[in-house]
Amino acid sequence: MTTDLATPPADTKPYTKSQLLTISASRVLEDGQIVFAGIGITLLAATLAQRTHAPGLTILFEGGVIGPFIQPGELPPSTNEQRCTRRANMLVPITDVLLLLQRGYVDIGFMGGAQIDRYGNLNSSYIGDPDMPKTRLPGTGGGNDIASLAEIIVATKHEKRRFVEKVDFVTSPGFIDGGDSRARCGLPYGGVKKVVTDLALLGFDPDTKLMRIDALQPGVTAEEVQDNTGFDLVIPDDVPIAEAPTATELAILENLDPERLYTH
């Protein structure tokens, strides 16, 4: 469906940027975790993890779904309709599934956003001045709650207009102004665990909470990552290269999304 291929190392199959993103995100997940997934790439990542290294991982949807069973080729198009309840263990009211975050049952939430800044704050509400916005975006949904109460993984394409010095509006808090500002705001738990992009895996400096390159995607240089980022990244002296998608991961992914609706 697309020829937008990242450069693969010689000993692996070719893969698309979306496949790379999905596979990289899945590797951040750990067995036994409870994960709020969205649709598309994040759901694929969680399901891929279940079928590789994390068989005991549990998926939640914010529509009120606990432990649904994802059928290959039948990915739900939303987190609030009956398709996402397929073979679920339990259905609960929305407020109660979100309260699992507050109670501390949820390990990871998957997030996106139109903008992310150097402290991992996410904006999905307004582009421009909120009082007179250039673009009114759809808003937080459960994003603010997930980001406030659990660790989050942000999976996104790496674009300069998206990685901005300061988001126009903090919809979902990352590390706010860095340092211990997040805890001081009343958010002692959670924070951004990892930003996964098609160019790099990014973490945050433990003290300053400034975004940092943790690993480069295969074939990508640190300079290239910096060039596609609207603020100065922390770049350690030795940046490892992430392992390329394996043939097994790619095969499972193609089985899950045979029509490449989300991994084109």
């Binding site: 914010e62 529509g63 509400s125 975006l137 759809p138 994003g143 709650d145």
Partner: protein, 318 residues
Amino acid sequence: MAVTPYETIRERTRARDRSLTEKVMSFEEAAALVKDGDHVALGGCTLSRTPIAAIWALIRAGRKDLVLSRSITSNEGDLAYVSGLSSHIMTSWFAQGIVWGLSKVMRAYTESGRAEFEEWSHMAMGLRYRAGAMGVPFMPARSMMGSNVLDRVAGTKEMDCPFTGERLLLLPALNPDVALIHVQRCDAYGNAQIDGLQFMDIDIAMAANRVIITTERIVSNDQIRRAPDQTKIPFFTVDAVVEAPYGSAPHECYGVYEPFFNELDAYAKITATEGEEGVRKYLDRCFYEPEDWAGYLSHIGVADILDAAKRGRRVYDD
């Protein structure tokens, strides 16, 4: 939207007819229970169990200036803005649905300041309804703090917990004037049963001062009493029961029909190409002109109804 004083809540509730009486009525009679300017909470979420039939009745009745609230708002929000039903929607997310992207109509209305999209977090909406349902003025929470979402809404308070010293957000209770809720089945008294996804509907019903139920089927009270576990809204909170088959179309109703994707794609195309003018034509054709609810459904067509119903029943196939 300020917290309703307890005295008002009690007096309003005391004044309601909470007896076991039949409340079946027409779309038009139910619409008359809503007054211009009311705060009306909508059940369901995004494309699921949206009370489309009730919204259809309110728009046809010419209701104006409602404050609408909902967990997540889909294209019923566009329709409310363009019809004049509401220019103030309180919700956590507002777009037709993820696959269709941004709402051009929502953008046009909110960016020009013609209408308000008051954004709260999803859980905050839920806890505000829940506080209203419980008869308390607020609910403590640990979300929204530190964000600009909190900065832009009025009426919250932060406090240091008197027990633990922890920083807490106090979310003000919502007690809507009216709740519109669509369910799979309901008896003539208003005992409403919901299958599958419940969303925020129970709290909305308990918090509101009047409840209008639209239902796929009106069933006997005997049938309700055979499965009391499945009753989610008790009759004494309900003021109107309207039978509205396919009452969420083109959205879905769990176990009965999935979304009508052809219709939703067509709607998305209208808004993408013609913007609010397209919505105006859509309203004329599907909301104002049909003689009755069957006329509305005729625009969707029998083939698509059969298809959506076939897909809907599949949740029981596993």
